[in-house]
């Protein structure tokens, strides 16, 4: 136990990085998800095709494979592009950016389905009524679509968030100093790997428990005005 206290700072810093990665990528994922849902529901066949292959691709390929592909392959492609155009000389993607981008991209596909399902649950008549009242597109989204979208999407969103939180552990494979990697380093140097991974396990459990409570609060908040049997 004393050993853990000794390494308290790096472990807590690692946990902070984990939370930061998760928050940044969930924001990105919501962006991708809204975009994807809009594309899938839009009339344009090209947008539908693109978004459809996006979700199929992401759900077919494991997250770590995509992450490594983006981190190593993306860097190569960027540098080849830079060499070909002469716009930049050498770029290095850092692990944080690579991790956030890949996780955001992957969970964007799951969020696409979430938002698409939620949108389809909104009664069509309400949208028509909004248009009939002369609401602009932005106002329609803000006043009618978003509040209901949030309500219908929340259960599935919460699920995605919990999976996303656990997926951030994979960023340690890229070498980012987040919770798992910090525990690994601390455990290696003290020869107490079990102790430190156990601590990491507990921290993840605490994070999921807090998320659970938070999500339940959000669900209550967004379902004000829904009658329950």
């Amino acid at each position: 136990m004393d050993v853990v206290l000794e390494y308290r700072d790096p472990i807590l810093r690692g946990a902070g990085v984990t939370i930061l990665v998760a928050l940044c990528s969930v924001i990105l994922a919501v962006g991708f998800g809204l975009l994807g849902a809009w594309g899938k529901l839009s009339g344009s066949p090209i947008a539908r095709r693109v978004c459809g292959s996006y979700t199929t691709l992401v759900r077919g390929v494991p997250d770590l494979v995509l992450m490594l592909l983006l981190f190593y392959g993306g860097q190569q492609v960027l540098n080849d592009l830079g060499a070909a155009t002469g716009w930049w000389s050498y770029l290095e993607i850092n692990q944080f950016v690579a991790g956030v981008c890949t996780i955001g991209f992957i969970f964007g596909a799951y969020m696409t389905e979430t938002f698409r399902g939620a949108y389809l649950a909104i009664p069509r008549g309400q949208i028509e009524a909004g248009i009939a009242c002369g609401m602009s597109r932005g106002k329609l989204f803000r006043r009618i679509l978003w509040p209901q979208l949030a309500r219908y999407a929340l259960p599935s969103f919460g699920n995605n968030w919990l999976v996303l939180l656990k997926t951030t552990a994979l960023v340690s494979v890229l070498g980012l100093n987040e919770l798992v990697r910090e525990s690994f380093v601390a455990g290696r140097s003290t020869r107490q790997l079990f102790t430190f991974f156990f601590v990491a396990l507990i921290i993840y459990l605490i994070l999921t428990a807090i998320s659970d409570v938070g999500l339940r609060w959000l669900e209550r908040r967004y379902s004000v005005g829904v009658r329950r049997s």
């Binding site: 759900r59 390929v61 994979l170 690994f184 107490q192 993840y204």
Partner: protein, 271 residues
């Protein structure tokens, strides 16, 4: 006059692949055996974990659904821990962590626990068992009470009720959720490559390291995983069709609905 030998087809393809094409596909094809080995490793790990985990989860789910005192709380805790933490940490805890204890290192189990393959199998099995327990519990609880009541009225004892009424109905109900779990397990199995196991991703990483490549190995791995996922989802679709046959709308009924009055009465007379 020295005659210049025309390059063979294979040579020119290799030449194109190495220099012109952005993706050096020949190097992947040359190492097909590496990927075949990886494919075998991934498949046996995932299939074994799913089989053992599935068998483990049935009694656990029954105990949870019956609210067996004490056992219920313990299983709840087990499921909560394994579902609330990353598979990577669970694997590290077993593979790297257990060696910390002298008792483990001295025990006869040490040769097993030192082997990354066994550690991965244990971690995957425990993980999938936790998720599957939750799926089965849900579907056992969703079995209509009337069915159970009818079985009781027929005088079936507890075990027979489980075997003949509750479990078949529950398995069928949990098929869609279980197909997701199978795909998640396949996706999750990539963490095996972080503990030196050469699975599909491991093969890709090895190829990249050998030739200083940036993406060839990963793309090959991604394609292989996609093919696997495709076959898994096709397989489950087929199963669902077979087992949910009684829930599908009758095909002739559908046709009838489209063209009212076109088909119906004569067939009734024939029978």
């Amino acid at each position: 006059m020295a005659e210049e030998r025309a390059p063979s087809l294979l040579e020119s393809i290799t030449e194109f692949s190495e220099n012109a094409s952005p993706l050096d596909f020949m190097v992947i094809l040359e190492h097909w055996d590496l990927f075949a080995e990886g494919l075998w490793m991934t498949t046996n790990l995932v299939v074994l974990a799913l089989l053992i985990g599935g068998c483990l989860s049935i009694p656990l789910a029954v105990a949870r659904a019956n609210r067996t005192p004490i056992l219920n709380q313990i299983i709840w805790g087990y499921v909560y821990v394994f579902r609330g933490t990353p598979l990577l940490v669970q694997l590290y805890l077993i593979y790297y962590g257990l060696g910390q204890f002298e008792a483990v290192r001295d025990s006869i189990l040490w040769p097993v626990l030192r082997d990354p393959w066994w550690c991965a199998l244990i971690a995957f099995t425990l993980n999938t068992a936790a998720y599957t327990t939750e799926i089965f519990r849900g579907s056992i609880e969703a079995v209509p009470f009337g069915e159970v009541e009818a079985a009781k009225a027929c005088g079936m004892p507890r075990l027979k009720r489980l075997q003949r009424v509750i479990l078949p109905s529950a398995f069928r109900r949990s098929l869609p959720a279980y197909s997701n779990e199978v795909i998640f397990m396949l996706h999750g199995s990539v963490v095996a490559s972080t503990v030196t196991i050469v699975d599909i991703l491991g093969a890709g990483r090895e190829l990249n390291a050998k030739y200083y490549l940036a993406y060839e190995g990963f793309i090959a791995a991604a394609v292989l995983y996609m093919i696997l996922v495709y076959f898994i989802s096709r397989g489950f679709k087929f199963w669902e069709k077979k087992w949910f046959a009684h829930l599908r709308p009758r095909e002739d009924a559908e046709a009838e609905a489209k063209q009212p009055g076109a088909a119906a009465p004569q067939t009734a007379l024939v029978r």
